[in-house]
Symmetry: C2
Subunit: 150 residues, 2 copies
């Protein structure tokens, strides 16, 4: 169920695990460019979503949608991006990413090169991003409350 060389298979009691159960864990990605970026990682070493049994698939998606829902209420992103790629770490982990028109790659995907921005835009994003950091404690608290009542 675990793979010795997989980063997501190592015991994970790091401070950025926001919540866990016996199936999965919800992680603050701590990405400095995307405050609120949250990951949902399966505990066992499973590569593709269609390798999961349907009830497990529904369970992880229910958690992904719960994260998206709480994120929208608490952080009010312009758009939410949701992705399960796993080319580097082939162990199911969903990215749930709040996006804003001023972030460094919008409207491109976060894996695209950074966009050219004017000094005014960079400053505005800096100020906005700091404000978003200030919302994270409440976001994470709401997330835990919602996950506990799942």
């Amino acid at each position: 169920m675990h793979s010795p060389n997989c980063a997501l298979c190592q015991p994970d009691d790091s401070h950025n695990v926001l919540w866990r159960n016996d199936k999965l864990r919800v992680i603050d990605a701590e990405d400095p460019d995307y405050p609120g970026f949250t990951r949902v990682a399966w505990n066992d070493h499973v590569c593709e979503m269609t390798d999961l049994e349907p009830p497990d698939r529904r369970h992880i998606m229910d958690v992904v949608w719960l994260v998206e829902g709480v994120m929208r209420v608490e952080l009010m992103p312009g758009k939410v991006n949701v992705a399960q790629l796993g080319n580097y770490v082939p162990h199911i982990h969903w990215h749930v990413i709040p996006r804003w028109p001023l972030d460094s790659r919008y409207p491109d995907a976060i894996w695209a090169p950074m966009r050219e921005r004017s000094p005014e835009q960079l400053l505005a994003w800096e100020v906005f991003r700091e404000r978003q950091y200030g919302l994270l404690t409440a976001y994470h608290a709401s997330l835990r409350v919602a996950l506990n009542s799942l």
Copy 2:
């Protein structure tokens, strides 16, 4: 239910619609770099997955997983990438993307810059990609059979 300026809200009877029902359609993305790249688009203009009612959310995800499952059997990708971004077109559409170690951006996301490849690698990918094109008719036929029995 439809938005006048949204590309995905226009009547869509194009040849690359592989299957449709009253809720959604399955589309061949016809991306020359990623043979088999398939999209699942919601018919109504809905922006985020958490704007859908839970049964509709389950329905579109069931179709996404059916696409992934048939893709794995017919095209045998090294990895499947699944994403719902919508920064350019904020109307739910899932990308289901077969990836191979020789494709032009692997292991990066398809939105990342192209990777440097040697002439030998480029040639090998060209040959492999042509072979993949040859599998698409069978892939699309299997997809329709599976979708019809959903």
